[in-house]
């Protein structure tokens, strides 16, 4: 009983904290800070998406910046040429990136790990060249500007227009929550567990009846779709997309977020997104230095902290788990309860 109470307590704290986060803009005056926070939210969706395939399934991609770009360009093109609003461009961005993700996954995941990295690298570069050179559609190096803001949301008599950065924050936060929810639902299911099993031992996973290739491809597709959604949000938030945003550096940045925060951890992905967004802004004037630092960070993380920042908390988590077993044992003895997991 005590255990159930504790988990209920944890849930209500999370819920209240989640609601409280909506009030954050009230305390922020500087629009530039608000802009950074909004960027963190968009990157959080990207990091959650990449973590699904890298952290939970163990398949490394250095081409997810391209899925982000495809999502953004699809939204930009549909908004500019057909006058679609965010609510229409978003599903298109998700579906198109998912289909492309399915194709790339189907080809790339047949390869062993090192070659998957090469294949996604090549894919990312090709997509970037398409953005850069298909001038009629993508605007070439200039990109596409003047992408519409999301339409004003009307709830009864209340109106929520999208004018300043402060207005975007609640919408983006809702999408981050949605991303967290979907990630959790996937991970806490037979499918999600199958992915983790594949990551840990492919041969053993297959012997348990898990269709390894199919599972990987599905997860890769979902992961691409997350990036597509983030792309559409990005396009309507910044009102402009240009090719250099989605170059190889973006893929590395997202991967660094996952690596630093901790692979296979929702909190880790979000912490990684926050750290990298802030440091990217701080190093804005020296982009070359940025890539150097990220590359160095990835190597350090892989060598010394393979589980990222969240890995540092894991030891205490294990201790907590042991404690809760003890509590649970007492409870079971007292009340004859049976408790699962």
């Amino acid at each position: 009983m005590e255990l159930i109470k504790r988990s209920a307590f944890r849930k209500s704290v999370l819920l209240l904290g989640g609601i409280a986060l909506f009030l954050l803009p009230l305390g922020i005056v500087n629009p530039y800070f608000m802009y950074i926070i909004n960027l963190i939210l968009i990157y959080a969706i990207l990091a959650l998406g990449l973590d699904l395939i890298v952290g939970y399934t163990g398949q490394v991609s250095v081409g997810h910046g391209a899925f982000f770009g495809i999502g953004a360009y699809v939204a930009a093109i549909l908004a500019k040429n057909l006058g679609f609003s965010l609510w229409l461009t978003l599903p298109f961005s998700i579906i198109i990136t998912a289909v492309i993700g399915l194709i790339i996954g189907f080809i790339g995941l047949k390869l062993i790990e090192e070659y998957l990295v090469m294949a996604t690298l090549a894919f990312g570069t090709i997509i970037w060249l398409v953005f850069l050179n298909w001038t009629d559609l993508t605007g070439g190096p200039m990109g596409i500007a003047g992408i519409s803001a999301p339409p004003t949301i009307t709830l009864g008599t209340l109106q929520f227009p999208f004018i300043q950065y402060h207005d975007y924050y609640p919408l983006l936060l809702i999408f981050v929550y949605l991303g967290i929810l979907i990630t959790r639902l996937i991970i806490k299911s037979g499918f999600g567990r199958a992915c983790t099993a594949i990551r840990d031992d492919e041969l053993a996973a297959q012997a348990m009846g898990i269709p390894v290739f199919k599972t990987k491809v599905i997860m890769f597709t979902i992961s691409a779709a997350f990036c597509g959604a983030a792309g559409a949000l990005y396009a309507h938030f910044l009102h402009v997309v240009s090719p250099e945003t989605f170059a190889f550096g973006m893929s590395v940045t997202i991967l660094t977020m996952v690596m630093i925060g901790g692979q296979g951890s929702i909190t880790g992905a979000i912490i990684g997104a926050a750290i990298l967004t802030v440091s990217s802004e701080a190093l804005r004037e020296t982009p070359e230095l940025r890539m150097l630092i990220y590359g160095f960070l990835i190597v350090i993380m892989i060598m010394f902290f393979p589980k990222g920042i969240m890995g540092l908390f894991q030891i205490s988590k294990q201790r907590l788990l042991k404690k809760s077993i003890q509590v649970e044992k007492n409870v079971v003895e007292k009340e004859g309860l049976s408790y699962e997991q």
Partner: protein, 264 residues
């Protein structure tokens, strides 16, 4: 006792199976069948092709020639997950656990076939999804109690003693609900007590109606546990029969003695 390969009571039939690696014939024209509810042992010197045989049966590698049938259904060259789906589960010679999982989580992976692993029902948490998840967890409780690991379910599997790690592997294999369980040298590296306890576990598993095909080196184990033995050497079948017959068979003695002399 000649083996006849249209045997109705056979759960597994291996027919003229061959597999070469480079110039080495790891399995050479091998035929045998495993009767339902038996504990069937495969013995033979190191390098005789026993593990290759297991990898062929479970689809990890595909044979050059020959066929493998499961209750008269052809499973030759099927993917490992498809073979698992048809009711064949296994443990590995070198224990293969998932490094980041607790005992409970590890065995939960074994229920993949039971829960189906479908994505959309999971995202929408449909009623049938929740029912299946609950059933899977109940089943694991049953299995973990059966193998004696229920109290350790929250421990990381890879941190348990060697004997208990093997139990986790067996529990995971049982969670797939197999008709045929393949055990690849399950008692290698165990002390006497662990071996004895595992042997008890195997016969309990067998009593639940699960056929066992076991690779072993320990002759005592093979003689007490199994009711049929196939001896292979250099990828070929040397002799087959009940333990009493195998124990004193000159060909078997020669195969083992020959090795012993070579070692000396």
């Amino acid at each position: 006792m000649s083996s006849n390969f249209v045997d109705d009571s056979a759960i597994l039939t291996v027919n003229q199976l061959s597999k070469s690696f480079g110039g080495v014939k790891a399995v050479n024209n091998l035929s045998f069948s495993v009767k339902e509810n038996n504990i069937h042992a495969i013995i033979g010197p190191n390098g005789a092709g026993k593990s290759t045989l297991f990898n062929l049966i479970t689809g990890v590698i595909t044979p050059d020639t020959g066929e493998i049938k499961l209750s008269n259904q052809d499973i030759t060259s099927l993917r490992p997950d498809k073979i698992a789906e048809r009711g064949v589960s296994r443990t590995f010679q070198n224990i293969r656990l998932f490094p980041d999982m607790t005992v409970f989580e590890t065995v939960l992976i074994g229920t993949y076939l039971m829960t189906g692993g479908k994505l959309l029902p999971a995202v929408f948490r449909t009623k049938s999804f929740r029912n299946k998840e609950r059933e899977a967890k109940e089943r694991i409780e049953e299995i973990l109690k059966f193998v004696g690991l229920w109290d350790m379910r929250h421990e990381y599997a890879a941190r348990l003693s060697y004997g208990n790690q093997r139990r986790v592997e067996i529990a995971r294999a049982l969670a797939t609900n197999p008709d045929l369980l393949l055990l690849d040298e399950p008692t290698a590296g165990m002390n006497q007590q662990e071996t004895k306890e595992l042997m008890q576990l195997f016969s309990q598993v067998n009593n639940q109606g699960i056929t066992i095909l076991i690779i072993a080196h320990d002759m005592h184990l093979v003689n007490t546990l199994s009711n049929q033995i196939t001896v292979i050497n250099f990828g070929e079948k040397l002799v087959e029969g009940p333990p009493e017959m195998i124990q004193n068979h000159p060909a078997v003695l020669e195969a083992y003695m020959g090795r012993a002399e070579a070692n000396a």
